[in-house]
Protein backbone atom coordinates (compact mmCIF):
# COMPACT_ATOMS: atom_id res chain seq x y z
CA UNK A 1 0.00 0.00 0.00
CA UNK A 2 1.28 3.39 -0.95
CA UNK A 3 1.01 5.91 1.86
CA UNK A 4 0.20 9.59 1.74
CA UNK A 5 3.85 10.34 2.51
CA UNK A 6 5.04 8.05 -0.27
CA UNK A 7 2.70 9.79 -2.69
CA UNK A 8 4.28 13.10 -1.77
CA UNK A 9 7.78 11.67 -2.13
CA UNK A 10 6.99 10.16 -5.51
CA UNK A 11 5.43 13.50 -6.47
CA UNK A 12 8.74 15.17 -5.66
CA UNK A 13 10.71 12.53 -7.59
CA UNK A 14 8.40 13.14 -10.58
CA UNK A 15 8.38 16.92 -10.05
CA UNK A 16 4.60 17.06 -9.74
CA UNK A 17 3.50 19.29 -6.94
CA UNK A 18 1.00 17.50 -4.74
CA UNK A 19 -0.42 19.29 -1.75
CA UNK A 20 -1.45 17.53 1.41
CA UNK A 21 -5.12 17.78 0.47
CA UNK A 22 -4.61 15.94 -2.80
CA UNK A 23 -2.32 13.21 -1.55
CA UNK A 24 -5.10 11.25 0.13
CA UNK A 25 -7.14 11.10 -3.03
CA UNK A 26 -4.08 10.12 -5.02
CA UNK A 27 -3.16 7.41 -2.54
CA UNK A 28 -6.62 5.87 -2.83
CA UNK A 29 -6.64 5.77 -6.65
CA UNK A 30 -3.04 4.63 -6.93
CA UNK A 31 -3.67 1.86 -4.42
CA UNK A 32 -6.55 0.45 -6.41
CA UNK A 33 -4.26 0.19 -9.44
CA UNK A 34 -1.31 -1.14 -7.43
CA UNK A 35 -3.60 -3.74 -5.96
CA UNK A 36 -4.41 -4.87 -9.47
CA UNK A 37 -0.72 -4.92 -10.40
CA UNK A 38 -0.15 -7.14 -7.41
CA UNK A 39 -1.72 -10.06 -9.28
CA UNK A 40 1.58 -10.46 -11.11
CA UNK A 41 2.91 -11.97 -7.89
CA UNK A 42 0.94 -15.10 -8.85
CA UNK A 43 2.99 -15.62 -11.99
CA UNK A 44 5.98 -17.90 -11.71
CA UNK A 45 8.79 -16.06 -13.47
CA UNK A 46 11.62 -18.14 -12.08
CA UNK A 47 14.30 -18.31 -14.77
CA UNK A 48 12.36 -16.07 -17.17
CA UNK A 49 14.38 -13.32 -18.86
CA UNK A 50 12.83 -9.87 -19.06
CA UNK A 51 11.85 -8.59 -22.52
CA UNK A 52 13.17 -5.07 -22.97
CA UNK A 53 12.94 -5.09 -26.75
CA UNK A 54 10.63 -7.15 -28.92
CA UNK A 55 12.81 -6.62 -31.97
CA UNK A 56 15.79 -8.89 -31.68
CA UNK A 57 18.34 -6.53 -33.18
CA UNK A 58 21.70 -5.23 -31.99
CA UNK A 59 24.31 -2.71 -33.12
CA UNK A 60 22.44 0.05 -34.85
CA UNK A 61 24.74 2.96 -35.50
CA UNK A 62 25.21 6.06 -37.53
CA UNK A 63 28.43 7.26 -39.12
CA UNK A 64 30.29 10.09 -37.46
CA UNK A 65 29.18 12.58 -40.10
CA UNK A 66 27.82 16.04 -39.46
CA UNK A 67 24.22 16.40 -40.61
CA UNK A 68 23.70 19.93 -39.36
CA UNK A 69 21.97 21.84 -36.61
CA UNK A 70 19.03 24.19 -36.35
CA UNK A 71 19.32 27.99 -36.47
CA UNK A 72 19.28 29.59 -33.02
CA UNK A 73 16.07 31.45 -33.80
CA UNK A 74 14.25 28.19 -34.49
CA UNK A 75 15.69 26.58 -31.37
CA UNK A 76 14.29 29.35 -29.20
CA UNK A 77 11.04 29.84 -31.14
CA UNK A 78 8.90 27.84 -28.71
CA UNK A 79 9.63 29.90 -25.61
CA UNK A 80 9.38 33.48 -24.43
CA UNK A 81 11.92 32.80 -21.71
CA UNK A 82 15.23 33.53 -23.36
CA UNK A 83 18.14 35.93 -23.17
CA UNK A 84 21.06 36.50 -25.52
CA UNK A 85 20.56 33.23 -27.34
CA UNK A 86 20.11 31.21 -24.15
CA UNK A 87 17.06 29.65 -22.61
CA UNK A 88 16.29 31.36 -19.34
CA UNK A 89 14.93 29.72 -16.22
CA UNK A 90 14.61 30.68 -12.57
CA UNK A 91 17.64 30.03 -10.37
CA UNK A 92 18.29 26.42 -9.59
CA UNK A 93 18.31 26.28 -5.80
Amino acid sequence: MITKEEVEHVGWLARIEIDAKESDAYAEKLNSVLGYFGQLDEVDTEGVEPTYHVADIVNVFRKDEVTGSMPQEEVLANTEHKQEGNFKSPKIM
Binding site: L13, R15, Y52, H53, A55, I57, V58, N59, V60, F61, R62, K63, D64, E65, V66, T67, G68, S69, M70, P71, Q72, V75, L76, Q83, E84, G85, N86, F87, K88, S89, P90, K91, I92, M93
Partner: protein, 473 residues
Protein backbone atom coordinates in the same frame (compact mmCIF):
# COMPACT_ATOMS: atom_id res chain seq x y z
CA UNK B 1 61.11 4.01 0.91
CA UNK B 2 57.57 3.07 1.74
CA UNK B 3 54.86 5.72 1.89
CA UNK B 4 52.90 5.03 5.02
CA UNK B 5 50.01 7.41 4.38
CA UNK B 6 50.09 8.94 7.86
CA UNK B 7 46.66 10.57 7.58
CA UNK B 8 44.93 7.56 6.10
CA UNK B 9 43.96 9.57 3.04
CA UNK B 10 42.07 7.80 0.29
CA UNK B 11 41.15 9.53 -2.90
CA UNK B 12 39.12 8.14 -5.74
CA UNK B 13 38.40 10.15 -8.85
CA UNK B 14 35.58 10.19 -11.37
CA UNK B 15 36.79 11.87 -14.48
CA UNK B 16 34.43 12.93 -17.27
CA UNK B 17 36.33 13.11 -20.52
CA UNK B 18 34.66 14.81 -23.45
CA UNK B 19 35.50 13.10 -26.73
CA UNK B 20 35.65 16.36 -28.63
CA UNK B 21 37.70 14.88 -31.46
CA UNK B 22 34.64 13.09 -32.79
CA UNK B 23 33.00 15.02 -35.60
CA UNK B 24 29.51 14.69 -34.14
CA UNK B 25 27.74 14.25 -30.84
CA UNK B 26 26.90 10.87 -29.30
CA UNK B 27 23.32 10.55 -30.55
CA UNK B 28 22.88 13.14 -33.27
CA UNK B 29 24.64 14.67 -36.25
CA UNK B 30 25.34 18.04 -34.62
CA UNK B 31 28.93 19.17 -34.95
CA UNK B 32 31.14 19.03 -31.86
CA UNK B 33 32.87 22.19 -32.95
CA UNK B 34 30.85 24.60 -30.81
CA UNK B 35 33.46 26.02 -28.49
CA UNK B 36 33.66 29.45 -30.10
CA UNK B 37 30.03 29.62 -31.22
CA UNK B 38 26.92 31.49 -30.16
CA UNK B 39 24.70 29.67 -27.63
CA UNK B 40 22.23 27.11 -28.99
CA UNK B 41 23.59 27.08 -32.51
CA UNK B 42 24.86 23.49 -32.39
CA UNK B 43 21.62 21.81 -31.47
CA UNK B 44 18.91 19.79 -33.17
CA UNK B 45 15.67 18.06 -32.11
CA UNK B 46 17.68 15.14 -30.68
CA UNK B 47 20.14 17.00 -28.43
CA UNK B 48 17.44 19.49 -27.45
CA UNK B 49 15.27 16.55 -26.43
CA UNK B 50 12.38 17.85 -28.50
CA UNK B 51 9.26 15.70 -28.28
CA UNK B 52 9.39 12.84 -30.78
CA UNK B 53 13.11 12.92 -31.44
CA UNK B 54 15.10 9.69 -31.19
CA UNK B 55 18.78 8.95 -30.56
CA UNK B 56 21.09 6.95 -32.85
CA UNK B 57 24.51 5.92 -31.56
CA UNK B 58 27.65 7.34 -33.13
CA UNK B 59 29.67 4.28 -34.15
CA UNK B 60 32.99 6.06 -33.85
CA UNK B 61 32.18 7.05 -30.27
CA UNK B 62 31.86 3.38 -29.36
CA UNK B 63 35.17 2.66 -31.05
CA UNK B 64 36.84 5.48 -29.11
CA UNK B 65 35.37 4.17 -25.88
CA UNK B 66 36.74 0.70 -26.51
CA UNK B 67 40.10 2.19 -27.37
CA UNK B 68 40.17 4.10 -24.09
CA UNK B 69 39.12 1.00 -22.18
CA UNK B 70 41.94 -1.01 -23.72
CA UNK B 71 44.48 1.72 -23.04
CA UNK B 72 43.44 1.67 -19.38
CA UNK B 73 43.94 -2.10 -19.30
CA UNK B 74 40.23 -2.66 -18.80
CA UNK B 75 38.19 -5.67 -19.77
CA UNK B 76 35.73 -4.81 -22.56
CA UNK B 77 32.15 -5.89 -22.11
CA UNK B 78 30.69 -8.39 -24.59
CA UNK B 79 27.29 -6.81 -24.81
CA UNK B 80 25.96 -3.64 -23.30
CA UNK B 81 23.02 -1.31 -23.47
CA UNK B 82 22.36 2.33 -22.72
CA UNK B 83 20.20 3.17 -19.73
CA UNK B 84 18.23 6.16 -18.68
CA UNK B 85 19.31 7.88 -15.50
CA UNK B 86 16.25 9.83 -14.44
CA UNK B 87 16.59 13.09 -12.58
CA UNK B 88 15.44 16.64 -13.03
CA UNK B 89 17.84 19.44 -13.81
CA UNK B 90 17.54 22.24 -16.37
CA UNK B 91 20.70 21.22 -18.22
CA UNK B 92 19.11 17.83 -19.03
CA UNK B 93 16.72 18.50 -21.91
CA UNK B 94 15.04 15.08 -21.73
CA UNK B 95 14.72 14.87 -17.97
CA UNK B 96 17.09 11.91 -18.01
CA UNK B 97 20.67 11.29 -18.98
CA UNK B 98 21.39 8.51 -21.42
CA UNK B 99 24.27 6.61 -19.84
CA UNK B 100 25.46 3.10 -19.06
CA UNK B 101 24.59 1.29 -15.91
CA UNK B 102 25.12 -2.37 -15.05
CA UNK B 103 27.30 -3.16 -18.05
CA UNK B 104 29.77 -0.32 -18.63
CA UNK B 105 31.61 -0.66 -21.90
CA UNK B 106 34.90 -1.04 -20.00
CA UNK B 107 35.25 -2.95 -16.74
CA UNK B 108 38.15 -3.21 -14.30
CA UNK B 109 41.54 -1.90 -15.33
CA UNK B 110 44.53 -0.04 -13.99
CA UNK B 111 47.05 2.68 -14.63
CA UNK B 112 50.51 3.14 -13.17
CA UNK B 113 51.44 6.49 -11.72
CA UNK B 114 54.57 7.84 -10.17
CA UNK B 115 53.41 7.71 -6.59
CA UNK B 116 54.77 9.02 -3.30
CA UNK B 117 57.07 6.01 -3.07
CA UNK B 118 57.78 5.15 -6.68
CA UNK B 119 55.53 3.41 -9.13
CA UNK B 120 52.03 3.00 -7.80
CA UNK B 121 49.03 1.27 -9.27
CA UNK B 122 45.65 2.98 -9.43
CA UNK B 123 42.75 0.65 -10.09
CA UNK B 124 40.11 1.60 -12.64
CA UNK B 125 36.67 0.52 -11.48
CA UNK B 126 34.94 1.13 -14.78
CA UNK B 127 34.67 3.45 -17.72
CA UNK B 128 31.30 4.09 -19.31
CA UNK B 129 29.82 6.19 -22.10
CA UNK B 130 27.24 8.86 -21.52
CA UNK B 131 25.94 12.10 -22.93
CA UNK B 132 27.01 15.51 -21.69
CA UNK B 133 24.28 17.79 -20.37
CA UNK B 134 23.98 21.40 -21.52
CA UNK B 135 25.78 24.26 -19.86
CA UNK B 136 24.25 26.40 -17.14
CA UNK B 137 25.30 29.91 -16.39
CA UNK B 138 24.12 31.24 -13.06
CA UNK B 139 23.32 34.92 -13.10
CA UNK B 140 25.29 35.53 -9.92
CA UNK B 141 26.56 32.77 -7.62
CA UNK B 142 24.81 29.40 -7.59
CA UNK B 143 23.06 30.05 -4.27
CA UNK B 144 22.07 33.70 -4.82
CA UNK B 145 21.46 33.82 -8.54
CA UNK B 146 18.68 35.80 -10.21
CA UNK B 147 18.21 33.21 -12.88
CA UNK B 148 19.90 30.64 -15.02
CA UNK B 149 20.88 30.81 -18.66
CA UNK B 150 20.97 27.52 -20.53
CA UNK B 151 23.01 26.73 -23.59
CA UNK B 152 22.56 23.27 -25.09
CA UNK B 153 25.50 23.37 -27.50
CA UNK B 154 27.31 20.96 -25.18
CA UNK B 155 24.24 18.78 -24.73
CA UNK B 156 24.77 15.33 -26.22
CA UNK B 157 28.54 15.50 -26.49
CA UNK B 158 30.11 12.09 -25.89
CA UNK B 159 31.58 11.64 -22.44
CA UNK B 160 33.60 8.79 -21.08
CA UNK B 161 33.31 8.64 -17.33
CA UNK B 162 36.40 6.98 -15.88
CA UNK B 163 35.93 5.88 -12.29
CA UNK B 164 38.98 4.97 -10.23
CA UNK B 165 39.36 2.99 -7.06
CA UNK B 166 40.23 5.07 -3.97
CA UNK B 167 43.87 4.22 -4.53
CA UNK B 168 45.44 7.66 -4.35
CA UNK B 169 46.96 8.65 -1.04
CA UNK B 170 47.64 12.34 -1.48
CA UNK B 171 46.58 15.27 -3.63
CA UNK B 172 49.92 14.93 -5.39
CA UNK B 173 49.13 11.35 -6.36
CA UNK B 174 45.71 12.47 -7.57
CA UNK B 175 47.38 15.08 -9.72
CA UNK B 176 49.80 12.49 -11.08
CA UNK B 177 46.90 10.21 -11.90
CA UNK B 178 45.10 12.98 -13.75
CA UNK B 179 48.26 13.85 -15.66
CA UNK B 180 48.71 10.22 -16.57
CA UNK B 181 45.13 9.91 -17.73
CA UNK B 182 45.46 12.99 -19.84
CA UNK B 183 48.71 11.68 -21.27
CA UNK B 184 47.11 8.37 -22.29
CA UNK B 185 44.05 10.06 -23.81
CA UNK B 186 46.33 12.45 -25.61
CA UNK B 187 48.17 9.48 -27.13
CA UNK B 188 44.88 7.96 -28.28
CA UNK B 189 43.96 11.13 -30.14
CA UNK B 190 40.41 11.03 -28.84
CA UNK B 191 40.23 14.45 -27.30
CA UNK B 192 41.77 17.87 -27.20
CA UNK B 193 42.49 18.48 -23.55
CA UNK B 194 42.96 22.19 -24.05
CA UNK B 195 39.33 22.82 -24.97
CA UNK B 196 37.04 24.13 -22.28
CA UNK B 197 35.33 21.35 -20.35
CA UNK B 198 37.39 18.56 -21.91
CA UNK B 199 38.10 16.91 -18.56
CA UNK B 200 35.99 17.42 -15.47
CA UNK B 201 36.67 15.82 -12.14
CA UNK B 202 34.62 14.68 -9.16
CA UNK B 203 36.55 13.37 -6.18
CA UNK B 204 35.81 11.04 -3.31
CA UNK B 205 37.97 11.90 -0.34
CA UNK B 206 38.33 10.35 3.08
CA UNK B 207 40.87 10.71 5.88
CA UNK B 208 41.85 8.28 8.62
CA UNK B 209 40.26 5.55 6.52
CA UNK B 210 36.89 7.08 7.37
CA UNK B 211 33.65 7.97 5.58
CA UNK B 212 34.04 9.48 2.14
CA UNK B 213 32.91 12.87 0.97
CA UNK B 214 32.18 13.60 -2.64
CA UNK B 215 33.56 16.83 -4.04
CA UNK B 216 31.96 17.99 -7.27
CA UNK B 217 32.53 20.71 -9.82
CA UNK B 218 36.29 20.58 -10.18
CA UNK B 219 37.10 21.95 -13.60
CA UNK B 220 40.89 21.85 -13.80
CA UNK B 221 43.79 19.72 -12.63
CA UNK B 222 45.20 22.54 -10.56
CA UNK B 223 41.73 22.93 -9.12
CA UNK B 224 41.69 19.23 -8.25
CA UNK B 225 44.87 19.50 -6.21
CA UNK B 226 43.61 22.61 -4.41
CA UNK B 227 40.18 21.15 -3.77
CA UNK B 228 41.71 17.97 -2.35
CA UNK B 229 44.21 19.82 -0.13
CA UNK B 230 41.40 21.95 1.21
CA UNK B 231 39.02 19.06 1.74
CA UNK B 232 41.62 16.90 3.52
CA UNK B 233 42.51 19.79 5.80
CA UNK B 234 38.85 20.47 6.47
CA UNK B 235 38.14 16.86 7.36
CA UNK B 236 41.18 16.60 9.63
CA UNK B 237 40.27 19.82 11.43
CA UNK B 238 36.69 18.71 11.77
CA UNK B 239 37.75 15.42 13.35
CA UNK B 240 40.27 17.18 15.59
CA UNK B 241 37.44 19.32 16.92
CA UNK B 242 35.51 16.18 17.75
CA UNK B 243 33.33 16.26 14.64
CA UNK B 244 32.28 13.30 12.57
CA UNK B 245 32.60 13.01 8.82
CA UNK B 246 29.32 12.11 7.13
CA UNK B 247 28.68 10.89 3.63
CA UNK B 248 27.81 14.03 1.70
CA UNK B 249 28.31 15.92 -1.51
CA UNK B 250 30.27 19.16 -1.51
CA UNK B 251 30.67 21.73 -4.21
CA UNK B 252 34.13 23.14 -4.95
CA UNK B 253 34.04 26.91 -5.18
CA UNK B 254 36.98 27.52 -7.46
CA UNK B 255 37.13 31.26 -6.83
CA UNK B 256 37.32 30.92 -3.05
CA UNK B 257 39.22 27.64 -3.06
CA UNK B 258 36.83 26.01 -0.58
CA UNK B 259 34.30 23.19 -0.65
CA UNK B 260 30.71 23.95 0.32
CA UNK B 261 28.20 21.41 1.54
CA UNK B 262 25.23 20.87 -0.76
CA UNK B 263 21.99 20.10 1.02
CA UNK B 264 21.97 16.37 1.71
CA UNK B 265 18.25 15.64 2.12
CA UNK B 266 16.97 16.57 -1.32
CA UNK B 267 20.09 15.23 -2.93
CA UNK B 268 19.05 11.78 -1.85
CA UNK B 269 18.85 10.36 -5.34
CA UNK B 270 16.72 7.70 -6.84
CA UNK B 271 17.73 7.59 -10.46
CA UNK B 272 15.26 4.88 -11.53
CA UNK B 273 17.63 3.45 -14.11
CA UNK B 274 16.10 1.38 -16.88
CA UNK B 275 17.26 0.37 -20.38
CA UNK B 276 16.70 3.02 -23.04
CA UNK B 277 13.90 1.57 -25.21
CA UNK B 278 14.87 3.80 -28.14
CA UNK B 279 18.27 2.15 -28.49
CA UNK B 280 19.10 -1.47 -29.16
CA UNK B 281 21.88 -3.42 -27.42
CA UNK B 282 25.53 -3.07 -28.42
CA UNK B 283 27.42 -6.26 -29.03
CA UNK B 284 31.03 -5.20 -29.24
CA UNK B 285 33.03 -8.29 -28.32
CA UNK B 286 34.03 -8.80 -31.97
CA UNK B 287 35.37 -5.29 -32.28
CA UNK B 288 38.02 -5.64 -29.62
CA UNK B 289 40.84 -7.30 -31.59
CA UNK B 290 40.48 -4.81 -34.42
CA UNK B 291 40.44 -1.81 -32.11
CA UNK B 292 43.41 -3.22 -30.22
CA UNK B 293 45.38 -3.17 -33.46
CA UNK B 294 44.83 0.57 -33.73
CA UNK B 295 46.23 1.24 -30.26
CA UNK B 296 49.42 3.30 -30.43
CA UNK B 297 52.47 2.70 -28.26
CA UNK B 298 51.37 4.16 -24.92
CA UNK B 299 53.37 6.44 -22.59
CA UNK B 300 54.77 3.71 -20.30
CA UNK B 301 55.97 1.60 -23.22
CA UNK B 302 57.41 4.57 -25.00
CA UNK B 303 59.29 5.64 -21.90
CA UNK B 304 60.84 2.21 -21.56
CA UNK B 305 61.81 2.23 -25.19
CA UNK B 306 63.35 5.71 -25.02
CA UNK B 307 65.50 4.57 -22.11
CA UNK B 308 66.59 1.45 -23.94
CA UNK B 309 66.85 2.74 -27.47
CA UNK B 310 68.28 6.19 -26.82
CA UNK B 311 70.07 5.53 -23.56
CA UNK B 312 68.10 8.18 -21.75
CA UNK B 313 67.71 8.45 -18.02
CA UNK B 314 64.30 7.98 -16.43
CA UNK B 315 63.70 11.70 -15.92
CA UNK B 316 64.35 12.65 -19.51
CA UNK B 317 62.43 9.67 -20.83
CA UNK B 318 59.44 10.52 -18.67
CA UNK B 319 59.47 14.20 -19.57
CA UNK B 320 59.72 13.43 -23.25
CA UNK B 321 56.91 10.87 -23.32
CA UNK B 322 54.15 12.67 -21.44
CA UNK B 323 52.82 14.34 -24.54
CA UNK B 324 52.69 12.39 -27.75
CA UNK B 325 53.54 15.44 -29.83
CA UNK B 326 56.67 16.11 -27.84
CA UNK B 327 57.67 12.45 -28.00
CA UNK B 328 57.29 12.43 -31.77
CA UNK B 329 59.22 15.68 -32.03
CA UNK B 330 62.01 14.26 -29.95
CA UNK B 331 62.27 11.09 -32.01
CA UNK B 332 62.67 13.11 -35.17
CA UNK B 333 65.39 15.20 -33.60
CA UNK B 334 67.08 12.09 -32.21
CA UNK B 335 67.23 10.61 -35.70
CA UNK B 336 69.38 13.54 -36.84
CA UNK B 337 71.65 14.32 -33.89
CA UNK B 338 73.00 12.42 -30.92
CA UNK B 339 69.88 11.25 -28.97
CA UNK B 340 71.34 12.27 -25.63
CA UNK B 341 72.14 15.75 -26.84
CA UNK B 342 68.68 15.85 -28.35
CA UNK B 343 67.13 14.90 -24.98
CA UNK B 344 69.01 17.65 -23.13
CA UNK B 345 68.14 20.33 -25.63
CA UNK B 346 64.53 19.32 -26.27
CA UNK B 347 63.53 18.31 -22.77
CA UNK B 348 65.49 20.75 -20.63
CA UNK B 349 66.02 23.87 -22.68
CA UNK B 350 63.37 23.98 -25.38
CA UNK B 351 60.54 22.59 -23.23
CA UNK B 352 61.47 24.99 -20.43
CA UNK B 353 61.35 27.97 -22.73
CA UNK B 354 58.04 26.78 -24.19
CA UNK B 355 56.46 26.25 -20.78
CA UNK B 356 57.59 29.69 -19.69
CA UNK B 357 55.75 31.15 -22.65
CA UNK B 358 52.78 28.74 -22.34
CA UNK B 359 53.48 27.46 -25.82
CA UNK B 360 53.32 23.94 -27.17
CA UNK B 361 55.92 22.13 -29.19
CA UNK B 362 54.09 23.28 -32.30
CA UNK B 363 55.81 26.64 -31.82
CA UNK B 364 59.20 25.18 -32.83
CA UNK B 365 60.40 23.10 -35.75
CA UNK B 366 62.54 20.00 -35.74
CA UNK B 367 64.77 21.59 -38.36
CA UNK B 368 65.52 24.62 -36.19
CA UNK B 369 66.35 22.70 -33.04
CA UNK B 370 68.56 20.36 -35.06
CA UNK B 371 70.43 23.39 -36.42
CA UNK B 372 70.89 24.79 -32.93
CA UNK B 373 72.10 21.46 -31.53
CA UNK B 374 74.53 21.00 -34.41
CA UNK B 375 75.94 24.51 -33.89
CA UNK B 376 76.54 23.83 -30.20
CA UNK B 377 77.94 20.36 -30.52
CA UNK B 378 80.07 21.48 -33.48
CA UNK B 379 81.55 24.04 -31.13
CA UNK B 380 80.43 26.87 -33.41
CA UNK B 381 78.41 28.70 -30.79
CA UNK B 382 78.35 28.75 -27.05
CA UNK B 383 75.60 27.20 -24.94
CA UNK B 384 74.49 30.67 -23.92
CA UNK B 385 74.17 31.64 -27.56
CA UNK B 386 72.11 28.51 -28.24
CA UNK B 387 69.65 29.48 -25.52
CA UNK B 388 69.56 33.00 -26.92
CA UNK B 389 68.76 31.67 -30.40
CA UNK B 390 65.89 29.56 -29.06
CA UNK B 391 64.48 32.52 -27.18
CA UNK B 392 64.79 34.78 -30.19
CA UNK B 393 63.02 32.29 -32.46
CA UNK B 394 60.16 32.05 -29.97
CA UNK B 395 59.91 35.76 -29.25
CA UNK B 396 60.74 37.43 -32.54
CA UNK B 397 60.72 34.65 -35.11
CA UNK B 398 63.44 34.04 -37.65
CA UNK B 399 65.79 31.18 -38.47
CA UNK B 400 68.69 30.13 -36.21
CA UNK B 401 71.32 30.72 -38.95
CA UNK B 402 70.06 34.26 -39.57
CA UNK B 403 70.05 35.00 -35.88
CA UNK B 404 73.62 33.73 -35.53
CA UNK B 405 74.73 36.03 -38.31
CA UNK B 406 72.70 39.04 -37.27
CA UNK B 407 73.85 38.83 -33.69
CA UNK B 408 77.38 37.69 -34.54
CA UNK B 409 77.13 34.72 -32.26
CA UNK B 410 79.75 32.54 -33.94
CA UNK B 411 82.48 31.63 -31.52
CA UNK B 412 85.73 33.61 -32.11
CA UNK B 413 88.87 31.87 -33.33
CA UNK B 414 91.36 30.52 -30.78
CA UNK B 415 94.19 32.91 -31.66
CA UNK B 416 91.87 35.88 -31.15
CA UNK B 417 91.11 34.60 -27.68
CA UNK B 418 94.78 33.95 -27.07
CA UNK B 419 95.56 37.50 -28.16
CA UNK B 420 92.86 38.90 -25.90
CA UNK B 421 94.27 36.90 -22.96
CA UNK B 422 97.74 38.18 -23.61
CA UNK B 423 96.51 41.76 -23.75
CA UNK B 424 94.36 41.40 -20.66
CA UNK B 425 97.27 40.03 -18.62
CA UNK B 426 99.66 42.64 -19.97
CA UNK B 427 97.29 45.56 -19.38
CA UNK B 428 96.32 44.61 -15.82
CA UNK B 429 99.48 43.90 -13.84
CA UNK B 430 97.75 44.76 -10.54
CA UNK B 431 95.11 42.14 -11.02
CA UNK B 432 97.77 39.59 -11.98
CA UNK B 433 99.73 40.40 -8.88
CA UNK B 434 96.60 40.17 -6.70
CA UNK B 435 95.77 36.76 -8.13
CA UNK B 436 99.25 35.45 -7.67
CA UNK B 437 99.12 36.86 -4.14
CA UNK B 438 96.16 34.60 -3.43
CA UNK B 439 93.17 36.78 -4.39
CA UNK B 440 91.08 34.31 -6.34
CA UNK B 441 88.54 36.95 -7.34
CA UNK B 442 91.02 38.73 -9.58
CA UNK B 443 90.81 35.82 -11.97
CA UNK B 444 87.19 36.68 -12.67
CA UNK B 445 88.21 40.25 -13.39
CA UNK B 446 90.74 39.07 -15.97
CA UNK B 447 88.29 36.67 -17.61
CA UNK B 448 85.80 39.53 -17.79
CA UNK B 449 88.35 41.62 -19.62
CA UNK B 450 88.87 38.81 -22.15
CA UNK B 451 85.13 38.56 -22.71
CA UNK B 452 84.96 42.32 -23.18
CA UNK B 453 87.71 42.23 -25.78
CA UNK B 454 86.02 39.38 -27.68
CA UNK B 455 82.60 41.02 -27.37
CA UNK B 456 81.31 37.98 -25.54
CA UNK B 457 81.87 35.53 -28.34
CA UNK B 458 84.52 33.61 -26.48
CA UNK B 459 83.42 30.63 -24.47
CA UNK B 460 83.67 31.79 -20.86
CA UNK B 461 84.98 28.45 -19.62
CA UNK B 462 87.58 28.32 -22.33
CA UNK B 463 88.65 31.92 -21.63
CA UNK B 464 89.06 31.10 -17.95
CA UNK B 465 91.27 28.11 -18.72
CA UNK B 466 93.41 30.19 -21.05
CA UNK B 467 93.89 32.97 -18.51
CA UNK B 468 94.86 30.41 -15.86
CA UNK B 469 97.37 28.84 -18.22
CA UNK B 470 98.84 32.22 -19.01
CA UNK B 471 99.16 33.09 -15.33
CA UNK B 472 100.98 29.83 -14.63
CA UNK B 473 103.62 30.61 -17.24
Amino acid sequence: MVYENPDGVRIGLEVHVQLNKLNTKLFCGCSTNYHDSEPNTHTCPVCLGLPGSLPVINEKAVEFAIKIGLALNCSIVEQTQFHRKNYYYPDLPKGFQTTQYDYPIAGEGKVIIEGEDGEHEVGITRAHMEEDPGRLQHMGSIDRSKGTLINYNRSGMTLIEIVSEPDMRSPKEARRYLDKLRSILDYLDVFDGDLEGAMRVDANVSVHWGERVEVKNISSFKGAERALLYEIMRQKNHIRRGGEIVLETRHFDEARGVTISMRTKEEEHDYRYFPEPDLVPLRVADWVPKVRETLPELPDAKRERFMKEYGLGETHARALTTEIKLANFYEEVASKVDPKDAAVWVSDTLKGELNYRELTIDAFTVKDIVTVIELVTGNKITEQSAVEIIRTVLDDGGKPQEIVEKKGLLKVEDDIVAKAVEEAVAENPDAVADYLGGKEKSLNFLVGKVMQKTKGRADAREAREKVLAKLKE
